[in-house]
């Protein structure tokens, strides 16, 4: 399973990354969380960061950040 957190590196993006890592850990699934700061890569999916991409699908973008439960739900839908 491939999970990406897109964001150029603002506080919101860091928070999103933490949130996603926590969600993966609590779900106990085998997935790597990649932080993507490259603008070309980000632009493939969205204009609003922070964003969450699971298995190549955009699951969340922009503010406000989703809750931990919501992130878990978004990831679980792709398992």
């Amino acid at each position: 399973m491939e999970i990406k957190v897109l964001g150029p590196g603002c506080p919101n993006c860091h928070q999103m990354e933490e949130l996603t890592k926590k969600a993966v850990k609590e779900l106990g699934i085998d997935a790597k969380v990649d932080k993507v700061a490259d603008i070309k890569e980000i632009m493939k999916y969205t204009m609003s960061t922070p964003a969450l991409v699971v298995n190549g699908k955009l699951k969340h973008s922009g503010k406000p950040l989703p809750t931990l439960d919501k992130v878990k739900e978004l990831i679980r839908a792709e398992v």
Binding site: P8, C10, I39, M43, M47, T49, L58, G62, P64
Partner: protein, 316 residues
């Protein structure tokens, strides 16, 4: 109702002496805190509902078919309602350029977005009344429209980083359709999110207000920076440009300056300079804009904001 409640706390619960400075300050603080937080929650919620209809992708589509001028006006208006965090400025900028939106129109959006927003509106309304609020919104939009038009006329496309023009995403991204329930949820989350980030600034603003209300004599600063001083506006703007804060953060200072007798135009120009121009935003925009364009942008904004300050001082 609110008034009675704050008087009850001040005089019955805290047993402060009627008419004393401390009692005045405390009563004012309680009254304003409740009033402003009620207003804030209500307005942020309402704006968030509107906002859920204008994701950046939709704004991009609306603007992509527009000519300059009409485009500038629309961009300034959409800047107010499109949810957008300054860290998204780069992808958003590239997305706009890619969609063929003129540079000047893109700037109208980037200028109005941080300057005119619901938090600024509520705080101005709560502390200064609807007249000042309307003037701030109106001129904020004007600054965004004209700033964008001037940048468009100067034909500065060559000072945009070349790689920006290499993006070709084709048809753009999908827009997720939200149900009404999802919109309500979005508005609720976003209200909580914004309040969480700004509540402290607001308490400080009201605290300063209450304190000054009770203690510092009016026209304390008027001698130095009142209407009579021709240089008050440019000085306030030049001080405001390097300072960086969101609307919520700058309001405590603005309020303090107002209460001490600075004129409205000077204070609003200061607030615009702080919110519309900031070093962190410049550093983010540097990724897509070359330095000459950043300087032109900062220069045009500074001059326009100073002009607005003089205009206010003349008419208010």
């Amino acid at each position: 109702m609110l008034k009675i409640f704050s008087q009850y706390i001040t005089y019955s619960l805290l047993k402060l002496k009627y008419g004393s400075h401390l009692a005045d300050a405390v009563e004012f603080f309680i009254y304003d805190t409740i009033k402003i937080f009620l207003l804030l929650s209500f307005i942020i919620f309402a704006v968030s509902i509107i906002r859920s209809f204008f994701p950046p992708e939709k704004t991009k589509r609306i603007l992509s078919h527009k000519k300059e001028f009409i485009g500038n006006i629309l961009a300034a208006l959409l800047g107010v309602v499109t949810p957008f965090c300054s860290c998204s400025a780069v992808p958003l900028f590239i997305g706009f350029v890619e969609a063929g939106i003129p540079l000047g129109v893109t700037f109208s959006f980037l200028i109005s977005s941080p300057m005119v927003n619901e938090v600024a509106v509520v705080l101005l309304f709560g502390l200064f009344g609807w007249k000042v609020t309307a003037i701030y919104i109106g001129t904020g939009l004007l600054v965004a429209v004209f700033g964008g038009i001037i940048i468009g006329k100067l034909k500065l496309e060559k000072w945009v980083e070349e790689y920006v023009y290499t993006f070709h995403n084709g048809q753009g991204y999908e827009i997720t359709k939200l149900t009404f329930k999802e919109r309500l949820q979005y508005a609720k989350d976003s209200t909580a999110d914004i309040l969480k980030r700004i509540w402290l600034y607001i308490l400080i603003a009201i605290g300063i207000g209450g304190f000054i209300h009770g203690y510092v004599p009016e026209d304390f600063l008027i001698h130095y920076a009142g209407k009579g001083n021709f240089f008050a506006v440019p000085i306030a703007v030049l001080i405001g440009v390097p300072l960086y804060s969101n609307a919520a953060g700058v309001i405590p200072i603005v309020y303090a300056l107002m209460e001490k007798g600075l004129s409205m135009g000077t204070v609003l120009a200061f607030m615009m300079a702080v919110t519309a121009l900031s070093l962190p935003e410049m550093i983010i925009l540097r990724k897509v804009l070359k330095i000459p364009l950043l300087c032109v942008f900062a220069g045009i904004m500074t001059v326009t904001i100073i002009a607005v300050g003089y205009l206010f001082n003349a008419i208010l």
